[in-house]
């Protein structure tokens, strides 16, 4: 009972997801070897990171929203919008990078603010509120853009393409966002309060926490993460694209990754580490499928089953402990 090691702060599902990740890598190794290929080549390791960076960043933001007992279905459209805003403002000019990044961050923060205020002030269920905002952004996108637009200067594409050894810059960005979020959750008052609000809003209120403000802030942060993902994608694509967010399925997939990482959908429980594991798990799964050239329909089936089983396992563990 006494002297709980720091490691215990890694909540159980986090361990499960990383164990599952190791298991999956081992399994992938065997399968790909049987198929006559090599699994963890330099390219596939880089590929895993590249593939997971954008989803990873969105999922980190989504983690915050879900921890606070909310969720955000508007991220996919926001990503498309921010990629376009970034590319259009940059317009191929190095000098425009800073204003473009600033505009994207401001815009996404604004969207998050709207999400948060609609949920807390107008008391609309997060599901409906963010779905509504998603529709609003979709209309604006459709109205303003005919297709990919804008141009990202070469220097900004460093973000999407360069790498340091086996580590792409985009993965570093993701790691940075994750570390910041982890730091926020574990070392700042805001983080503590996000857990409190998601865990039990009444307890949080009785402890003097302004719960509404916390929810709004997490939505701002979640949207900003989506904005950062939009920037990353703009740099990858060299332009903004009105369908990049929805094609990537970043809304439901980010929620799936968060839940796969052991964060409870009801909030208050989980963390960024698990989400990182969840995203990596999905990316490794993708890589195995890629190596084996499995068609995308099988992938969907496997993904769906994996997500449900994972959450069922977490539910079982929780039950076992409380009994």
């Amino acid at each position: 009972m006494n002297g709980i090691p720091v490691a215990a702060r890694l909540r159980e599902p986090t361990q499960v997801v990383f164990l599952a990740l190791l298991g999956l890598i081992a399994l992938g190794w065997v399968l790909v070897a049987l198929d006559g290929g090599q699994f963890l080549t330099m390219e596939s390791v880089v590929g895993i990171q590249q593939r997971s960076a954008a989803l990873g960043i969105v999922a980190v933001g989504q983690t915050l929203a879900i921890l606070a007992g909310s969720l955000d279905l508007s991220v996919a459209y926001l990503i498309s919008l921010t990629s376009l805003v970034a590319a259009e403002i940059m317009a191929g000019q190095d000098g425009n990078i800073v204003p473009a990044v600033a505009a994207v961050l401001a815009l996404s923060a604004l969207v998050g603010l709207v999400n948060g205020l609609v949920i807390t002030r107008l008391r609309v269920h997060a599901f409906i509120a963010t779905l509504g905002v998603a529709l609003i952004i979709r209309g604006i996108l459709d109205h303003l853009y005919d297709g990919p637009a804008g141009k990202v200067p070469e220097s900004f594409q460093v973000l999407g393409y360069s790498r340091i050894g086996p580590v792409p810059v985009s993965a570093l960005l993701w790691a940075g966002v994750a570390v910041v979020a982890w730091f926020l959750l574990s070392r700042t008052r805001l983080g503590y309060r996000i857990y409190a609000v998601g865990g039990n809003e009444e307890v949080a209120r009785l402890s003097g926490i302004r719960t509404g403000r916390i929810v709004v802030l997490t939505h701002v942060l979640c949207s900003v993460c989506a904005g950062v993902a939009g920037l990353l994608l703009a740099s990858r694509l060299g332009a903004g694209a009105p369908t990049v967010g929805t094609d990537g399925g970043y809304d439901l997939e980010s929620i799936a990754a968060v839940v796969l990482g052991g964060t409870a959908l009801a909030g208050g429980k989980g963390g960024v580490a698990g989400t990182v594991g969840g995203v990596l798990l999905l990316a490794v799964l993708d890589t195995i499928f890629n190596q084996l050239e499995v068609n995308s329909f099988v992938k969907d089936v496997v993904r769906g089953v994996v997500i449900v089983i994972a959450v069922a396992v977490y539910a079982r563990r929780t039950k076992g402990r409380s009994a």
Binding site: T41, M42, E43, S44, V46, G47, Q50, R51, A54, L81, V85, E88, I89, A91, G92, Q93, N96, A103, L107, L141, D142, H143, L144, Y145, D146, G147, P148, A149, G150, K151, Q157, G160, Y161, L233, R236, L237, G238, A239, A241, P242, T243, V244, D247, G248, D286, N290, E293, N295, S296, K299
Partner: protein, 401 residues
């Protein structure tokens, strides 16, 4: 995904890049991109798309009358006004390992094409390995896929880009390492050895519009149905049609987006029938919902006016059964055979066209019987060029008849 039948010529793409730099350096997010066509109360065709490039339009229409070079009866090996390019530097001995980065297989057109390509690969014994990655319609994944494929020791890389501008950097990156063949949608670089495409979207849109201009009496009301806004390659089809309609005496009473949803299409057509009493022609930017549009007239108990469709079996069948006045411009799926053929030519050091313009026939009342294949599934594309391939028709979902 509606972005199915992509086509942008390299120069169109380059012009597009030019177009974006022409834009005012947008200072805020609301910097208006050229707005899409507004659907006013029968106010006509709206403003022209920013994607419209007159020179490309003219070039494509000119190709319509030119005779393609190449073997008869094998349109996938033919080319229109080819500018050959030398490939000796890529020459190497077989066997070959070909790689393919596919944008997606998420719609029937791509499904038919993908099966055709696989069958084409099966024809060539010298291809011992064929690695294909499906980007599932995600630009970001396709960029990673292209990078991953370069590491697989491919002798040639075929790319069907998910979007034009956004895949350019990835393709550029690959060009230095292997011969790259791009088809369907283009990229904004001329580094690929060859770019394979049918003539293009302007021709598609113009073929359909010309037909209506011819068949619909002056002053007739035409409804234009588009899949969705914000899809670059579909813009060319519409902008060409718009150009044609603007010169005609037809009245375009509406330009509507259907999301490629048959039910929505039917509802929209129904609304227009109610509002205007009579619609004299229907223009469509793709065929997926053509049958639904026709059925809307049937269900309303009205004669079906001249319509445009595509080479999908269900439309061709409907055309025959209901004796429609119709035309089906095509964006042929046989283009999926050409990249394999091109890759082998390149690896054998034979010259290939730099821009490989494939013929882009339209199905007319006269040619309808040739293309109609009742044993094929409803969403099969007639111009697959796959009839002579092994496994036909079962692999394409058809029945032996």
């Amino acid at each position: 995904m509606p972005r199915r039948k992509a086509t942008v010529a390299v120069f169109a793409a380059l012009a597009l890049a030019g177009c974006t730099t022409d834009k005012p350096p947008a200072a805020q997010s609301s910097a208006p991109a050229a707005s899409t066509d507004q659907t006013g109360q029968g106010s006509g065709t709206g403003t022209q798309s920013k994607f419209f490039v007159q020179a490309d339009f003219d070039a494509q229409l000119a190709m319509r009358s030119q005779t393609p070079q190449g073997p008869d009866g094998k349109p996938w090996e033919q080319a229109i006004t080819p500018q050959m390019t030398d490939t000796k530097t890529f020459k190497k001995d077989g066997p070959y390992h070909l790689c393919f980065s596919n944008a997606a297989v998420n719609n029937p057109w791509r499904q038919v094409g993908w099966k055709t390509m696989q069958a084409e690969v099966g024809l060539h014994k010298e291809i011992t390995e064929f690695t294909a990655l499906d980007a599932e319609g995600k630009d970001d994944k396709q960029i990673s896929d292209i990078a991953e494929l370069q590491a697989k020791g491919c002798d040639a890389l075929i790319v069907s880009p998910n979007t034009t501008a956004t895949l350019t950097p990835a393709v550029k990156g690959a060009c230095g390492k292997v011969p790259v063949i791009v088809f369907d949608r283009g990229v904004e670089t001329d580094c690929p050895v060859t770019f394979i495409k049918p003539i293009g979207g302007y021709l598609y849109g113009a073929d359909a519009a010309d037909f209506l201009v011819e068949k619909v009496p002056d002053g007739g009301k035409v409804l234009a149905l588009r899949i969705s806004p914000g899809v670059d390659v579909l813009e060319t089809r519409w902008s060409a049609a718009k150009t044609v309609f603007d010169k005609s005496r037809l009245q375009v009473v509406g330009v509507e987006f259907t999301d490629g949803d048959a039910a929505k299409t039917k509802s929209i057509v129904n609304d227009y029938i109610q509002r205007y009493g009579k619609i004299d022609g229907v223009w469509m930017d793709s065929g997926g919902t053509a049958v639904a549009a026709v059925e809307a007239f049937e269900d309303a108990g009205l004669p079906v006016p001249p319509v445009t469709g595509e080479d999908q079996q269900d439309f061709l069948q409907k055309w025959k059964d209901a004796k429609l006045t119709a035309i089906a411009p095509t964006y042929p799926t046989y283009q999926w055979r050409t990249p394999i053929i091109a890759a082998l030519k390149i690896l054998k050091g034979e010259e290939v066209p730099k821009v490989w313009n494939l013929p882009q026939p339209k199905i007319t009342e006269e040619t309808l019987p040739t293309y109609l294949q009742p044993n094929m599934p409803p969403l099969h594309y007639a111009l697959c060029g796959c009839e002579d391939l092994p496994g036909f028709p079962e692999n394409w979902g058809g029945k032996k008849s």
